[in-house]
């Protein structure tokens, strides 16, 4: 994991766990992301990525997320 504290979810290496710090997107999209579990302080485990899209595990659910959406989610290492 990079040493700086905050990165985008889209840059998170596969296999690592991170903590969401901020969700930034259009209001209806960020609301939907939060309702699906992408809210502040929750732990996300990144599983794999394909063509910029990402599969991650959040609240024991696996979700495929667009690279553009993942770009707007700011995270830090899970232990922080």
């Amino acid at each position: 994991m990079p040493s700086y504290p905050f990165i985008r979810l889209s840059d998170t290496p596969a296999g690592s766990s991170v903590r969401i710090r901020h969700v930034h997107s259009r209001p209806e999209i960020s609301t939907r992301l939060r309702e699906m579990g992408f809210y502040e302080d929750v732990i996300v485990r990144c599983i794999t990525r394909t063509h910029g899209n990402l599969i991650c595990e959040i609240l024991n659910t696996r979700i495929g997320i667009d690279g553009d959406l993942a770009n707007g989610i700011i995270v830090s290492p899970a232990e922080q």
Binding site: G15, V23, R26, P27, E28, I29, S30, T31, R32, L33, R34, E35, M36, G37, Y39, E40, D41, V42, I47, T48, T50, H51, N53, I55, L59, N60, T61, R62, I63, G64, I65, D66, D68, L69
Partner: protein, 731 residues
């Protein structure tokens, strides 16, 4: 238990809700068995599944399987329908008597978010805690008693795919259900709570709402974006100003209004889940991780997907052949019995060549339909379908579609009918409609006899560079043309009439599991009945009409070709000849085109009749037909009727022309029955992410609709007008 002496006004209405992939349909099938029917909600392409739950005392309750939703803030038409149905608003006149919220025990927190919202609305609720067996295998044990105490509503653990827990759920659904659970256990930030309380008091006074309704409306208004408030027409300016002032106050405190509510609710849900579950952590990569890595790999994922599709596609072609032959033979036998039993005449002719021939044409598709839904059921139930959508999203995204559109389109190479029916898996209304509209452009198996006849007769049997047969290349070119046109048309639709930005991918990938055979078989049965009922009624009528047109007026002592020319159909062929002459077609081809409205391959048998071939399906008959077509000349000009160019034009016509009536009939249902309303629903503006703006109580849905001219333009293509009478979709 139900009191038999209690007066029964109407059957109890039970609504099944829950997150997508929570197993709602499995629970629905377990509760209702085969006592169910499928239709569409009026004006939209969203399916309505309704069934009857039979109690021990013989009485019934009505169970409705609502579309899946993650929350009571809808972001798509499907979710809006689910929310409106639960809250008894919009086109739904009353709330259900009980809501059963199906919760996936594997993702308790996310599922309990919706549960907590429903409890806050004080609607009678039962929580069906599903897939507890899968959760246990993954190291998660949920204590239903603890959940029940925390939530204040009955919690029933289930393994719906095996029927476990269903009898207890039925018992609870037969008993009186407590009116409310433990509402509003979660704590929102103090400033928001204060504003909400004040606004709620104003709404109670101004709009005579009760305390709970006013609270929820106030909360929705406070968490709405300013752009939504701009469109509100139900509030007075004073109230609007008050709401905006609250927004500014909260923003001054640096509060993200939407985020604050969602986060607060989730924090409570997480605490509740921690108290009610025991988890054994799994360090390192799990089996699911490994499977996901392979199945969604940028290269191997695509290879595996195409391999699975090739197997599915080939199986539908080859496995369906034998049952289709049996069905055809069965109808041939019936026809023979009718010929033996009935005296020669119009009645026998109508029955054998009109009704039976028409019904046989439809029923012959049934094995393909059922096989397709068998495969789709296996792929969906196992959890692979979502991975396939994830893998194909990039390709589909290039034409503005979601990854889920790929499978219906691929299925259409076998037959557009099951492909169109498979489009129900697409969440987005517009993407679903675009997929339905372009699916018939892919060359189906019914066009293959036409291609084979014309290519065999008019394309030289040579090879290019000694490697590739020109005839095979022509056939490949026709299929490629259909695919290119379908993708191109989809791109145009998504940029114009059914405009919406490329949907952003946000898809839940359900856990891998062994498919439930019972669930799949019920689904196959349901689709078979629906298909036969919808397409068969229309096609039976059309077959009788076509028979009449090709048989009357009668001409005695004439060859089949002369009778055909003298008939209404023959006259119609002559009538359309000027229209099709620029394409190089004549009246004979005109009759063939009219006949092939029923089924594409009817063109071959029509040509055979015209050229006096007894049975154009026999090999020597087909060869003779080719020779006849090659040597046929116009009696006036002496020119060849069919040239290579004519044949190519005809084949391109079949690639691009309006689909057969069977397809039109089936398109009519998933597109909303009444084409105008379906298009109006599709015209509801969608923001990027293919989501409709949140529909908030008190603000009303955004006003939308296509211009009337555009509706008229598209109606023939989805069969609304072609079938003469648009009716609302009904079972």
């Amino acid at each position: 238990m139900r009191d038999p002496s209690a007066p029964q006004v109407r059957p109890r209405l039970i609504a099944l809700t829950g997150n997508p992939n929570s197993g709602k349909s499995t629970v629905f099938n377990a509760l209702t068995g085969l006592r169910q029917r499928v239709s569409n909600y009026p004006g939209v392409t969203v399916e309505r599944r309704e069934g009857r739950l039979k109690y021990d005392d013989g009485s019934f309750a009505t169970v409705v399987d609502l579309p899946g939703t993650y929350s009571l803030s809808p972001t798509s038409i499907d979710e809006r329908i689910a929310v409106d149905a639960m809250l008894g608003r919009g086109s739904f006149s009353a709330r259900p008597d009980i809501i059963v919220c199906v919760v996936d025990a594997n993702s308790l927190e996310r599922n309990l978010f919706l549960v907590s919202q429903i409890i806050d609305r004080e609607i009678p609720l039962v929580v069906a805690l599903n897939m507890v067996d899968v959760a246990r295998r993954r190291g998660t044990t949920v204590n239903p008693g603890s959940l029940e105490r925390e939530l204040g509503v009955p919690v029933v653990p289930l393994v719906a795919s095996k029927g476990e827990g269903i009898s207890k759920l039925k018992q609870i659904l037969a008993s009186p259900v407590p009116k409310r659970g433990n509402a509003r256990q979660w704590m929102m930030p103090a400033p928001l709570a204060r504003e909400c309380g004040e606004l709620s008091a104003i709404l109670q006074e101004k709009r005579q709402l009760d305390e709970a309704e006013a609270f929820h409306e106030a909360l929705e208004l406070l968490t709405s974006s300013d752009s939504l408030l701009e469109g509100a027409d139900r509030h007075d300016p004073e109230l609007l100003a008050r709401i905006r002032a609250s927004h500014r106050k909260l923003e001054f405190l640096d509060m993200d209004r939407q985020s604050a509510v969602v986060s607060a609710r989730y924090r409570w849900v997480q605490q509740l889940s921690l108290r009610a579950t025991e988890r054994v952590p799994h360090p390192g990569m799990t089996k699911s991780d490994r499977l996901d890595w392979i199945l969604t790999h940028r290269f191997w994922g695509v290879v595996i997907f195409l391999g699975i599709m090739a197997i599915m596609f080939q199986s539908i072609f080859s496995w369906a052949t034998v049952p289709m032959e049996y069905i055809t033979a069965g109808f041939d036998w019936l026809g023979h019995q009718a010929v033996v039993a009935l005296p020669p005449g119009d009645l026998r002719d109508l029955l054998v060549n009109g009704a039976l021939a028409g019904v046989a044409a439809i029923v012959a598709f049934l094995p393909q339909i059922m096989l397709l839904f068998l495969f789709l059921g296996i792929l969906e139930d196992s959890g692979y379908m979502a991975r396939a959508a994830y893998v194909m999203d990039r390709l589909m995204g290039r034409v503005g579609l979601h990854g889920k559109s790929f499978i219906p389109l691929l299925s259409s190479f076998a037959c557009a009918i099951p492909g169109i029916m498979a489009a129900r898996t697409i969440d987005s209304e517009k993407d679903r409609l675009v997929t339905i509209l372009v699916a018939p452009l892919l060359s189906c198996s019914a066009r293959l006899p036409v291609y084979t006849l014309l290519i065999g007769a008019f394309i030289p049997a040579t090879t290019l560079f000694g490697l590739v047969s020109l005839q095979a290349l022509t056939l490949l070119g026709l299929y490629a043309l259909g695919l290119v046109m379908a993708l191109g048309a989809a791109w145009v639709f998504k940029k114009t009439l059914l405009k919406s930005a490329r949907p952003e991918l946000l898809i839940e990938l359900p856990p891998y599991r062994i498919p439930s055979l019972r669930h799949i078989v019920i689904q196959m049965w349901e689709r078979a009945v629906l298909f036969l009922r919808n397409a068969g009624t229309i096609i039976l009528g059309a077959s009788i009409i076509l028979w009449f047109l090709a048989s009357y007026p009668r001409l005695e002592n004439a060859t089949p070709s002369e009778r055909l020319q003298h008939s209404f159909a023959g006259k119609a062929g002559h009538l359309v000849e000027p229209l099709i002459k620029p394409l190089g077609f004549n009246w004979k081809i005109g009759i063939g085109l009219i006949g092939s409205l029923l089924q594409r391959e009817v063109f071959v048998s029509t040509m055979g009749t015209i050229y006096n071939i007894q049975d154009s399906n026999q090999q020597e008959g087909t060869l003779s037909l080719r020779q006849h077509m090659k040597h046929d000349r116009d009696p006036t000009s002496g020119l060849q009727t069919f040239t290579t160019l004519t044949a190519i034009c005809l084949m391109i016509y079949y690639v691009l022309a309006m689909q057969c009536l069977s397809t039109v009939a089936v398109m009519r249902r998933p597109s909303g029955g009444e084409g105008k309303h379906g298009l109006a629903a599709a015209g509801i503006p969608l923001h990027r992410g293919n989501r409709s703006p949140p529909v908030r109580a008190g603000l009303g849905p955004p006003q939308a609709g296509l211009p009337g001219g555009m509706q008229q333009l598209l109606l023939p293509h989805i069969g609304g007008r072609a079938l003469g009478e648009a009716a609302s979709a009904a079972a």
